[in-house]
């Protein structure tokens, strides 16, 4: 019990530093032991005396202000008491302010994000259409490349035929007043005949040029000619032997025998 008095618990409780359990213990001890009660009373008395000794007079105006305050509810008792409005504490205000800023920041971020989305979507659409254009261009170029490649292959084939030492070029010059000129490249060993149209007038509709080989003084059909601009060597029918080649203009599809009045070019082997 003396130990309790010397524990500092009494002072702790009196000064309001103790928790609920400690307060309740002091109450129990005070009820049970007059000595504890006496010790508490003594400390309280000395505390009060000390506070009295350290008194500092408050401003005189405060007294009236406080009395006015405590008498207000009395004088207002006849009327309906004013409803108590809970004012938000500064903490509550700061909480609301904090949230306000957060909400404002969120809205700004959202708006910014929306603007950015629109901007990026536009950019995406631009890029997408540009990409499609490029894809089409690339396809076009690939096609061009293919056709050029094909054409190059044809020309290379033509060139290799012309360069072939076994192939004999036979220049066929105009026999009428046109400036016509054609060349036959003839591989005698293989009997292959290729025709190069240097220049021939465009045939009338329903007409077609026809190549003839002159064999032993008689014309032999070497095939009809389809004039295509830019064409290179055109393979004609095989001719094993001939003294000369000639081209006449015939009805479309060719004739059994040449129309000699419509001969355009002639070239001797």
């Amino acid at each position: 019990m003396q130990e309790y008095i010397e524990s500092g618990s009494i002072e702790s409780c009196v000064l309001g530093l103790a928790d609920q359990a400690e307060q309740q213990e002091l109450e129990r001890m005070c009820a049970a032991y007059p000595e504890v009660r006496a010790a508490r009373d003594a400390f309280e008395a000395s505390l009060e005396a000390s506070a009295m000794a350290g008194a500092v007079a408050p401003p005189p105006a405060l007294r009236d202000s406080i009395f006015e305050k405590i008498t207000q509810p009395e004088s207002g008792s006849l009327t309906q008491p004013a409803p108590v409005v809970e004012l938000p504490t500064p903490e509550a205000y700061s909480g609301v302010g904090w949230k306000k800023y957060l909400v404002a920041a969120s809205v700004i971020l959202l708006a910014g994000s929306a603007v950015l989305n629109i901007y990026l979507y536009n950019r995406y659409q631009q890029s997408d259409s540009l990409y499609k254009d490029l894809l089409a261009q690339q396809q076009q170029l690939a096609e061009n490349n293919n056709s050029i490649q094909t054409r190059l292959n044809e020309l290379e084939t033509d060139l290799s035929r012309i360069k072939n030492p076994n192939v004999q070029p036979i220049k066929m010059t105009a026999v009428n007043n046109t400036n016509s000129l054609t060349t036959v490249y003839w591989d005698k060993n293989a009997a292959e005949v290729y025709l190069l149209v240097n220049q021939l007038p465009k045939p009338e509709p329903g007409k077609q040029y026809q190549l003839w080989a002159i064999v032993n003084g008689k014309p032999v059909d070497a095939g009809v000619i389809d004039l295509e601009p830019g064409d290179g060597l055109v393979k004609m029918k095989n001719i094993p032997s001939a003294e000369a080649f000639a081209i006449t203009l015939e009805n479309a599809g060719g004739s059994q025998s040449p129309t000699l009045t419509a001969m355009y070019v002639l070239g001797k082997v």
Partner: protein, 179 residues
């Protein structure tokens, strides 16, 4: 208007519970200075301390029914109301903002503004000032600043058990100086 009457404590409590204004004026005239002195220990600015003192007396008037004489003296009850109100004030945003430009007051010997310097060495302040440094700091933090034992342990970086032991020792020292 001051009254020449004196009351015993039970009489005073009884009259206050009956909302007897004369008794309240007596109470104010008798204790306002002592409570003001304690509040000034926590809030050195008299203007702010006056706000707290007003709140304290209004609360005493309104909450008289909650006073339990079996738990202690009337002054102890009022002292705790005053201390709690003052510490609450120091924790309000408004107070903390007003203190921003002040120097940190690590010393318990806060000189109340507008008070006679000689008052500094009487009463509670004097008693606390007599304590050993390690005790004084703890009483300052625990009693005048209202920190919990856990907060003090964290603040001073000493174990919680040590805080409790030292506060007990400080309180016993305090009692010795008071009596």
């Amino acid at each position: 208007m001051t009254t020449a009457n004196t009351y015993t404590e039970p009489e005073l409590v009884q009259l206050l519970r009956q909302k007897e204004e004369t008794a309240f004026k007596y109470l104010y005239d008798h204790y306002a200075g002592a409570l003001n002195g304690v509040i000034l220990q926590i809030i050195p600015d008299q203007a702010l301390a006056s706000d707290v003192l007003q709140e304290v007396f209004v609360n005493i008037w309104r909450r008289m029914e909650t006073y339990d004489a079996s738990k202690g003296r009337l002054f102890t009850w009022m002292l705790n109301i005053a201390r709690n109100a003052a510490i609450d004030m120091t924790r309000s945003k408004a107070y903390q903002n007003s203190q921003k430009n002040r120097e940190l007051d690590s010393d318990v010997h806060i000189q109340p503004e507008g008070t006679n310097p000689s008052l500094d060495h009487i009463g509670l302040s004097k008693v606390i000032g007599q304590l050993k440094e390690e005790h004084r700091v703890l009483i300052d933090l625990a009693y005048l600043k209202g920190y919990t034992h856990e907060e003090i342990a964290k603040l001073l970086e000493i174990p919680l058990g040590t805080v409790k032991t030292r506060i007990r020792a400080a309180l016993l020292q305090l009692r010795k100086f008071l009596t």
